[in-house]
Symmetry: C2
Subunit: 395 residues, 2 copies
């Protein structure tokens, strides 16, 4: 790998298309420029890749600039040279005394770049509710550029990401093979008296090795594996206590290729499960299949949700949370794209190559179960990325 | 594990002390209340633990309330019941239609809790530049509570965390054993023609297994392992390309216990290293040892930095970035505490049981090297958490 020899899996044309789509949305919102700080959006627009999002960094897109400008920590400039498609002049580093300092703030440098690029009085979009765009970020921008106007664009670039290219789908298919291997390994290793951390180690190693052809990447979410009463809550991770029997464990993992995620969830039960859990598993699978039968171009994401809820309600279950969300490119803390949510109030009409983690689960008072699929909307219906049995696993 | 049977490693008294220290700082800043959103601060004040920080959540501390209030997603309420020390009445969930929605925002619920707790006209501190406290978070609070006054407290709770208790130090010593094992494994597995992802898999598995007595937890940062020209940038992760020889790889990992981190960095060189790299390794070790000789209670963090820079400058190296930072409790994206930075402009006077990742490295144009130690300030000097050779590893 050499400087300038960006090794992104995407063509220059694909990056140009992403930028054009972004500028189109900016134009529709009357914006001269857009400052993007969500790590996945940085990667999407420029190829930038590095675990540097714990300090302020971002990408400036302006209607009058042919290419985005990356602004980050001086120490990460070499990383930007190595990973982005940007020319040298579009990579700007700030000095290290801006890092976590009371005296200086990195967004002062961002404002300086905006000034230098003629944006002193511009209408500039910002991602007001995105990860890592802090309240202070906006305050500094407003204070440094009092004559500019800053407007919340929400997840504007995330919406560009919602429909995947064929190259992105190819990566997600590779990720699906990794997800299958990882879940199979999880089911193998989770067992009575095995420490949870030892199972997590095998899960992480399998996901990271990936396949012989395609190595795995780090996931935007650590393996979630609540066990016992913990299965009543979807977001617990492991401890070093052993698994007990009888008890259920819900494993949510993702196969990841070049930061593209294909999540997969299954519940594993050690020992004989209670009848109510077997029944719930049947209901979840029935609801999942009813929902997938509805998902196709032109259907609403709310229709998919309705198919799920009406099925489970027939069996006496009620769940008020969303049952799926858009997936793809992601960095910690989330592999969801924060755009499409499968729920009653969502207005998305599904399109081909939208990709969704359909995550039907029942989290009850003191136990839970989940059986998910990552799906792609095809021209006519739906394709599940993974080929993995849809059932409760009993050991 | 049962509801209410919080399995935190810390006593009720320790939580009470943390809260009292926080309230003392709040009083000094003239605050009636404080809204905390950084995941590590949530854990520190309440024990809360879950990978749910990709949605809005926080803890409200008020001078007039005996215990903090956790506010998060309804789906995570069971997680809060399982992991926090809080009574049932201090756990508030918001409905799922607040998640990543245009119509509702979780901070509206936070504002409602503030109103219900009599804080409608209060002076309320917020962490304006903390991870996950977005610009929108503050805008919603201000709009919902126009008569309250919101003041930026910076990393106020992080500063409480800067001096560790004996119980915290005990966890960090356990984490150090994990860090040593993990680095030893990294040096074993990194080799010519081995895929980077396969080495990363072994590193992650070793860190997660931990020791026989103490399992490992997920780290707030993925293993950093830039290789070849990538070593010029500290924050690159792995690909599925094989390691080449001759080339250097800089591995930065952490041992983690219950979210307490002990990071460790070493550079490994496959094949014969160039003389300049051997020389740089000697300089880094000399600078590291000069700095550790200075670190003690009463010394300034800038003195430690000066010892490092003056040593390397004697050898013709110059580095303008900080050479260390406070460590301990951490969640993605950072295991640093965002308080003490070892640099010329830092004003911290070191105290016993401050814990720091001393991270001396040289990142040059197209290569780099780093040899770090995680340290504790003792009553008289410094203790390195890990016992690991301070040198360039050559294979």
């Amino acid at each position: 790998m050499q400087f300038g020899a960006n090794n992104t899996p995407f063509s220059r044309e694909e990056f140009a298309f992403r930028l054009a789509c972004t500028k189109q949305r900016m134009a529709a919102a009357g914006l001269d420029a857009l400052y993007v700080s969500e790590p996945a959006n940085l990667n999407y627009l420029t190829g930038y890749d590095g675990w540097s999002f714990y300090v302020h960094q971002g990408v400036l897109v302006a209607q009058d600039l042919p290419e985005p400008v990356w602004i980050g920590r001086g120490q990460d400039v070499n990383g930007a040279r190595l990973t982005t498609i940007l020319p040298e002049g579009n990579i700007v580093g700030y000095s290290d005394d801006h890092v976590q300092s009371n005296a200086r703030h990195p967004l002062q440098v961002v404002a300086k770049v905006m000034r230098e690029r003629g944006l002193e009085r511009a209408r500039i979009g910002v991602e007001e509710d995105s990860f890592y765009f802090t309240a202070k970020s906006l305050a500094v921008l407003k204070s440094e550029l009092p004559n500019a106007r800053f407007l919340d664009v929400g997840p504007m670039v995330n919406w560009v990401r919602a429909v995947k290219s064929d190259a992105e789908i190819a990566l997600m298919r590779q990720a699906a093979r990794i997800a299958e291997k990882t879940m199979a390994r999880a089911i193998e290793v989770i067992d009575d008296r095995i420490r949870q951390c030892d199972a997590a180690a095998e899960i992480l190693a399998t996901a990271t090795r990936g396949t012989q052809d395609h190595g795995g990447d780090y996931a935007a979410i650590a393996p979630l594996m609540p066990t016992g009463i913990g299965t009543s809550c979807p977001h617990l991770t492991w401890s070093d206590a052993p698994f007990a029997s009888p008890a259920g464990t819900t494993v949510e993992i993702a196969g990841v290729r070049r930061h593209y995620h294909v999540p997969l969830t299954r519940t594993i039960h050690l020992g004989t499960p209670p009848d109510r859990m077997r029944k719930a598993a049947d209901v979840v699978v029935e609801g999942l299949e009813a929902a997938l039968a509805v998902a196709r171009p032109g259907a609403g994401s709310r229709d998919v949700h309705a198919a799920w809820t009406s099925t489970i309600e027939r069996h006496g279950f009620f769940k008020d949370s969303r049952c799926g969300y858009s997936i793809g490119l992601g960095y910690p803390p989330d592999w969801g794209e924060r755009t499409i949510s499968l729920r009653a109030v969502d207005e998305t009409v599904l399109e081909p190559n939208m990709t969704i983690h359909f995550m039907p689960g029942l989290w009850l008072d003191d136990w839970g179960i989940a059986i998910s699929e990552s799906i792609r909307i095809t021209e006519t219906g739906v394709e599940a990325f993974c080929d993995f049995p849809r059932r409760l696993f009993i050991k």
